[in-house]
């Protein structure tokens, strides 16, 4: 790891076991490469959503009333989206991004209290967001929007579902970090471990920054 290179640097000699050509940490490079790859994953999902926008054959539809099949008969269905709830979820996710940098700051400065406080807050926010999504899905389902009801539902659930599963993975990862922090196993030298999780978490957050307006706000 790069931090251990300190010993030999400056002497014109290299520490062979910690040599990296760019001086950057290898794991951090990997997580960024992975994030780059994930961009294309979400791009494909979002592109499909956009292409199929407005092409559903039956309701329910996201923003407008429509005819849809419910309880075995065609009837008028209300618009699906409830903007206030998602807005709140979005804000929570944004805050969690803030919290996790604060936690990382604490980890890097060796401020255990700061680390644990903000990391717990992050995990809670993440859990809240997942909970919000589960609630939302449940609610939508009861408004007649099954997974295969129409193109909107399929693309919507797949896109937000995969985002949600990324959030879930992030929560698991951050919780692991939290446990380590509680056990005092996240000293400043190991802050990088948290940084990797945090990068992933931010990525999941910025994906939502795109999804929120594109899916929920654009009619």
């Amino acid at each position: 790891m790069a931090q251990a290179a300190t010993a030999s640097a400056g002497h014109g000699e290299i520490d062979e076991h910690h040599w990296t050509s760019t001086g950057l940490d290898t794991r951090k490079l990997a997580i960024w490469g992975f994030i780059g790859s994930e961009c294309l994953f979400f791009a494909s999902l979002i592109a499909t959503y956009l292409v199929y926008r407005g092409k559903s054959l039956v309701g329910p539809l996201p923003h407008t009333e429509s005819q849809c099949m419910m309880h075995g008969k065609m009837q008028a269905c209300e618009a699906i989206f409830e903007i206030p709830l998602v807005t709140f979820g979005t804000a929570v996710l944004l805050f969690s991004s803030l919290f996790v940098v604060l936690a990382l700051y604490g980890a890097q400065k060796g401020d255990r209290k700061m680390l644990i406080t903000w990391l717990s807050a992050t995990v809670l926010c993440g859990l809240f967001f997942v909970g919000m999504q589960v609630y939302e899905f449940y609610h939508f389902f009861h408004k007649g929007l099954g997974y295969s009801t129409n193109l909107f539902s399929s693309t919507f659930y797949t896109l937000t579902g995969f985002h949600g599963s990324h959030v879930t993975l992030g929560v698991i990862w951050l919780s692991t970090m939290l446990v380590l922090a509680l056990r005092g196993k996240l000293p400043p030298e190991k802050a990088l471990n948290l940084e990797l999780a945090a990068l992933y978490w931010h990525f999941v957050d910025v994906v939502w920054i795109v999804i929120f307006p594109v899916v929920y706000l654009m009619r």
Binding site: A2, C39, L50, Q108, E195, V210
Partner: protein, 118 residues
């Protein structure tokens, strides 16, 4: 070995390390931007609200610009791309450029360049 590798996580290249204050500031802006997004949405879709006529036709661009700005803030400050190695920024930016290009190409291919029925 290059000198900067001695600094540990490779996260400060002579720039000042951001402080919780910066993070908080960014957080406030992010929140404000989200509020603006929702405001734009509401104004754009409620004919009775003030400024509706002005906002309605440009709701989508407004939303896209605001969210791009939010995206930028999180990436630059929270993901430390502002201080970190340029390489990381490249690893993020180019895939995004490709992603946007592909998504736009698909939308165009499906909506503008084909006539469904002859």
């Amino acid at each position: 070995m290059s000198a900067h590798a001695t600094h540990g996580h490779g996260d400060d290249h002579g720039h000042s390390h951001p402080t919780p204050r910066t993070y908080l500031g960014v957080g406030v802006i992010l929140f404000a931007l989200t509020a603006l997004e929702v405001l734009a949405y509401e104004v754009g879709h409620r004919p009775t609200w003030p400024l509706h006529g002005m906002v309605e036709p440009i709701v989508v661009p407004i939303l896209l610009i605001l969210s791009a700005f939010k995206f930028f803030l999180v990436a630059a400050f929270y993901m430390h791309l502002k201080q970190d190695s340029k390489l990381f920024s490249n690893l993020f930016v180019w895939p995004i450029v490709l992603a946007i290009a592909l998504a736009m190409a698909l939308v165009v291919l499906f909506n503008y360049w084909v006539k469904e029925t002859y």
